[in-house]
Symmetry: C3
């Protein structure tokens, strides 16, 4: 038993430490095809090398959320194997597209620790970075999780709570080198709506729904080498149900949002996100969005929209929280992100 | 809601119009691998680059039916989102193989319109073309669908019913440039039967069966970016069942037909096809074929067989229609196509 | 019916014959991605081109078990279509890694025959070889199966029982050209345990479990072009259950063994294996290993471990056989293999 990974406990983290995560991963057209099989993904920039080249990129990148999952998956054995809850995300920035042929690895800096008052667990903040084979950072985000203590009675570490921006400012967003939407082909992209057509406060019901199967979420979660037992082993939880990886819901909702946001091509910022309720096989996932903000960028023809993306398994579109301020039981995900949109 | 695609209604089509479909798609070895995982596909020309090169092609193409699905999938948001029925196919020709690395897009010319006598719907005929990144047409077929009217009372358009060949003549078939079956390796292909071994009227029971799962047909249908709600959303139909994309049954039957038609390598013509009854998860798909015609081609060692391919979910092989002339309830598909076979 | 493959019967084999199996297969990044989606595979050498290059290989190979499945799948139509039981494996050696772009074909030499005393069936031994497009042998193994006779009363062939090594000697193992673990990065590989840290007799519970779905085992089995009806057709067996391909259990167990054997990177020898009990969808597969032997190799920094890998669907880890010497009902697989491990 000593040779298997027991995961880290709250006591095993110290602020300032950098964790180098294992199992680098080379992605190819295979990952891209699987992403399109697993999600109804249709953003043209990620579907067509030709469309991407017309927009100034060398080829169609791997979907930004797939890049996120690859980077995230590597952190699971070191960060969330003994996690009681995935509490939040902040300051996520996609710094460079990931292309077929790239090899991705991850590191995490421990940037905050706070033991819970019950003495049995604590909150760990990490800033995770994804790197490609040239040592360039492709993604950078903060995540915080509640982690079990190994010994409930042990001393609490010094409290360090990182200062995190609730929202990335537009000038913090990184537009991929060369991106140019001046000659953007709205016909091939699938919708005519430009950046200027979206108003702050506007809401969009993405209409479509997908009923989730066990085989699909497990294929996805394994593809990102996420090893958390609860996703795969029907014996891991008392109720015998396999909990669906929250990232599967993110990708499903983002793909569904094509219908109304087909031109919100590139995800460049993650301001925050909450997995409001668990998702299980048999749930039918739907999505709606709200335009939270708009910003210009320095790239030709490229604007940015700050969007709330909400995934549900039923209920009225646009319903989010109850009178008690808590998420309604049908809400699965509340994500706040920045996307690049043609002007 | 205004930003999502409501689909087109019968009134939105006019004869002579060309619809440019959205979301071009680059295919890779990933799509090829997924096709082999989703269907028991074993035709050697599509499985082995080396076998394809021995037959004069530069590499193994993407399966012809996969090429069809990619082209077809793009048309769904513009042609069949409000379709009440998929009525037929005609004059389908594969003009050029699709290879990994190719980027495929689709256009459709509206070639016929006829309002139904009930005034609530009408039939739309489109000629759809698939194009690669060099602007070459890779596939060309006619499909007609029954589409709902937006306003039942509105005026009927002029009736235009296109003249369509019930069967493509052999000299209309396009043999891929360079194809040469002179040194065809029957051993590696899996069966010894040549073009001359098949007699018109001969029937073949393909013996094998595959029980269909929800996850599989959804993976396939998403891979082709077909977005029709009925395939994915268990809430889309009153009976709560997800209807399986007819193309999934086509590919399953074609792959099963390897057993007896291993040398019917390339699909080059689609004379017609009917989705006789709906297919659902849990059905076990089987297939049988009938040789309808034989023809020579100008390519070395290459003959053509016209084949009826029938998919069933039970019942006797070779049973097709009842005394009333209607398809038997277990028949799923009746497809009429031309394939290239070594002499 | 005459054109479909009825499979071979016991009478159809003769010692000395070489069977050339059909349908060569080119593999790509697509097969690699699917392997990672189907199994929780995390061995770094097969996940990262960069890691593989640091170990002296040109790129990350296709997983060794995937190579095995591709080679094995081709033999099914000729060897096991009428098999009553898959009896054993011996003398399996991986001779060369398989890389994306390689085209694999298989041949089998019939090396043994023994009719059963009931006169209704017999045992056939074959030595199967996998070849790449350069004619190099990539894999070589012996398998024996019990095959039905076509005519129960027919004459028995001369009995030939091949002499097979119960265990490959270390000097029979082939270390891939260039492999060098001198600068092996244990951090990126995921575990610190070196060859010298494993003691003969040591057992490891791999802890994780995966609940199997019908869609997944069928995707996998089709991907390897294994056509045995019992895996796909719920009507093929009286109980209506689809039997899971034994190789799916092998790959699942091997991938699960990462947790504790992350550095057992390359599988180079297969000493033997038994599919102890059938596996069905809904079973939760777990795994444990026992270190059976250790050996040095001539390659820099490279040692070999002989490992027993046991897959179960429940029961106590490390339990294998009952007092009657038979496998316990929860044991699915008992595999004996050699793996290469950094010193």
């Amino acid at each position: 038993m000593a040779k298997t990974n027991p995961g880290r406990f709250f006591e095993d983290y110290s602020v300032g430490e950098t964790i180098r995560h294992a199992v680098p991963r080379t992605v190819s057209g295979g990952e891209r095809a699987l992403y399109h099989a697993l999600y109804p993904a249709r953003h043209a920039l990620y579907s067509s090398d030709e469309f991407a080249r017309e927009c100034g990129l060398p080829a169609a990148p791997l979907d930004d959320m797939a890049a996120f999952h690859v980077v995230f998956g590597k952190t699971v054995p070191d960060v969330s194997l003994n996690a009681l809850a995935n509490l939040g995300y902040a300051e996520g920035r996609w710094l460079r597209p990931v292309y077929p042929g790239d090899t991705i690895s991850s590191t995490s800096d421990v940037i905050g620790l706070k033991q819970n008052s019950n003495g049995k667990s604590g909150v760990v903040w990490v800033r995770t970075k994804g790197h490609n084979q040239r040592g360039e950072t492709v993604l950078d985000y903060v995540r915080w999780v509640m982690v079990r203590k190994r010994e409930p009675g042990s001393d609490a570490p010094e409290v360090v709570i990182p200062e995190l921006a609730s929202v990335l400012k537009a000038d913090q967003l990184v537009v991929p080198e060369g991106l140019d939407f001046t000659n953007y082909d709205f016909g091939l992209a699938g919708e005519p709506h430009r950046w200027g057509d979206y108003a702050v406060g506007e809401t969009i019901d993405h209409v479509d729904g997908v009923t989730i199967e066990e085989a699909e979420h497990m294929l996805a979660t394994r593809l990102w080498q996420n090893t958390a037992k609860v996703h795969f082993d029907s014996g891991a939880r008392p109720d015998g149900r396999r909990l669906i990886y929250g990232g599967h819901v993110i990708s499903m909702a983002r793909a569904l949002s094509f219908n109304g946001l087909a031109n919100a091509q590139m995800v460049v910022g993650l301001n925050g996100g909450a997995h409001a309720n668990p998702c299980y096989a048999g749930d039918t996932v739907r999505a709606w969005s709200e335009v939270l903000d708009r910003a210009e960028t320095s790239a030709p023809g490229v604007g940015a929209l700050r969007l709330r993306l909400v995934a549900t398994k039923g209920g009225d579109p646009f319903a989010l929280k109850g009178d008690d301020g808590k998420y309604l039981p049908d809400v699965l995900l509340d994500l706040d992100y920045w996307a690049l949109v043609p002007l």
